[in-house]
Amino acid sequence: MQGSLIDSLARQGITRRAFLKYCAMLASMMALPPSAGRAMAEAMATARRPSVIWLPFQECTGCTESITRSHSPSIEGMIFDLISLDYQETLMAAAGHQAEEALHATMKSNHGKYLLIVDGSIPLGMNGAYSCIAGRSNVDLLKETASGAAAIVAMGSCASYGGIPKANPNPTGAVSVSDLVKDKPIVNIPGCPPIPVVMTGVLAHYLTFGALPELDAKGRPKAFFGETIHDRCYRRPFYDQGKFAKTFDDEGARRGWCLFELGCKGPVTYNACATVKWNGGTSWPVESGHGCLGCSEPDFWDGGSFYKALSMPADPLKLGGAAAVAGAAAGVAVSVANRVKKGAAKASHEKATLADLEK
């Protein structure tokens, strides 16, 4: 399905003006200057649509659903059409050998130019036997496809950091894309699932400027993952005033106070949920009364209970009892030894005489 985006958009009933408005909003959200908005509009409208390969590995299709917005098609969904999604098992009509051929055809024809989107973690256990497509392990498939990719987008926490499959005890030996592929530019879009607009923002940026956006230390686009949820949270004033909800339905919770005490991981999680929100700006976890789980951070699943406050120690008095007994025992042992020594010294006391004063 070739041809420029603007033709297909028009057929979807999206006017050029609507598209321009969307680009302006996207540029503003990515903290790009307004002029970039217009540049994005031109670039995306006329750009030859890059070929994209979507490789699903150990994933739950949550990311696909979140990105393709299957429940409410909108501009973002259309933008997603902007790319010629040549291989996406869930969405493509073809299956079996036909699908494989489409994949290899795309890889051959667009070698070095296509964008590879990886969804899900890659199991290394039993040398990759945990997850295979057409008899070939994910590891091989990834390596082969990555070699010809211009850039790789790790979609969701699984692809970015290993996510839930990698959680303790990690039976399948799951790893993230960046653990395997070292020689290609990789952008991680963590989140379980990730925020749709982040995906389209990265694609728009890639199309307009032909490069991946600026990334942070963990390979995430700074425009969306530069700040912690806590710093952007609308309940932050309550945190500063020490107003905390104690239980999920107490007076504090009803008043919309801070959920710090209920285990919110906002302070340690970098993501854009607090500003961009979910489901088309309807709400986001904290606004709906539940603490942030920190799903865009590595190994969030093993970061301690979701309902234990960050500054709260897990169970510091666990060793307390044993320590008290051991301490008392050590103390008593030394005191007995001291008494014996002092008693012996007193017993062997020789009455001092004047002679004892002379050397």
């Binding site: 120690p313 897990a314 103390g331």
Partner: protein
């Protein structure tokens, strides 16, 4: 090991170990010290008002006449950072939260901006007292490695705590983890260094007051 795992370890097993060693150390040392015993004083006591162990335990917190003039830095600096530490630990909202989680006791805290100010003043006082320890001949002469070490072990938690709250230098996750780590070091070190004066001070002042009170001198 990234910041969140480090924080989880420090909050979890790290703190368990630290609190364990702290409890073990305190009990061991208290028993080791106070079971050495004391011979009763057979001399006939002189009864004078205000001359008893417990009076001294509280009175000795005030500067004796004329001493404030001789070394104001020790006294004023000392009061400020001790009171400051108390305010930070017991009247700062997240700390009260911590204590409530452990003991169930809860009380209102001070506004966090005020505690921030107190923290800065406390750190300033500690630095002044450190400089005094370097400059004053008697103090410097007495100082061993333990004095500089215990100063650092007490100063770091305050600094890192303040930096965590102010989001300075390092991301909050890492700084909070470092803060908790420095607190753990303080807990582990306390019973085995001069910081144990926090506990033995009561005993020492009581003995001093008792011995002199027997002779009718309200020290």
């Amino acid at each position: 090991m990234d910041a969140l795992q480090f924080l989880t370890w420090v909050r979890g097993p790290g703190l368990d170990i630290a609190v364990g060693i702290f409890v073990l150390g305190v009990l061991w040392r208290l028993i080791e010290i106070y079971t050495l015993g004391r011979k009763p004083d057979l001399a006939e006591a002189r009864h004078a008002a205000g001359a008893s162990g417990w009076h001294t335990v509280f009175r000795r917190s005030l500067p004796p006449p004329g001493m404030m003039k001789r070394s104001p830095v020790s006294y004023i600096g000392g009061y400020i950072f001790h009171v400051g530490l108390a305010i930070i630990v017991f009247l700062f909202a997240p700390h009260i939260l911590l204590i409530t989680n452990l003991t169930g006791l809860s009380w209102p805290g001070l506004p966090s901006q005020f505690v921030d100010l107190v923290t800065v003043v406390t750190m300033a006082a500690m630095i002044v007292v450190l400089v005094d320890r370097i400059n004053k001949p008697a103090k410097r002469f007495l100082s061993t490695f333990e004095d500089w070490f215990t100063w650092a072990v007490t100063f770091l938690p305050v600094l890192t705590g303040w930096m965590a709250v102010q989001h300075l230098l390092l991301p909050y996750t890492l700084m909070l983890a470092i803060h908790i780590l420095t607190v753990e070091i303080l807990l582990i070190v306390l019973p085995f260094t001069k910081l144990f004066h926090a506990f033995t001070l009561i005993g020492s002042r009581w003995y001093n007051g008792r011995v002199n009170g027997q002779r009718g001198v309200p020290v």
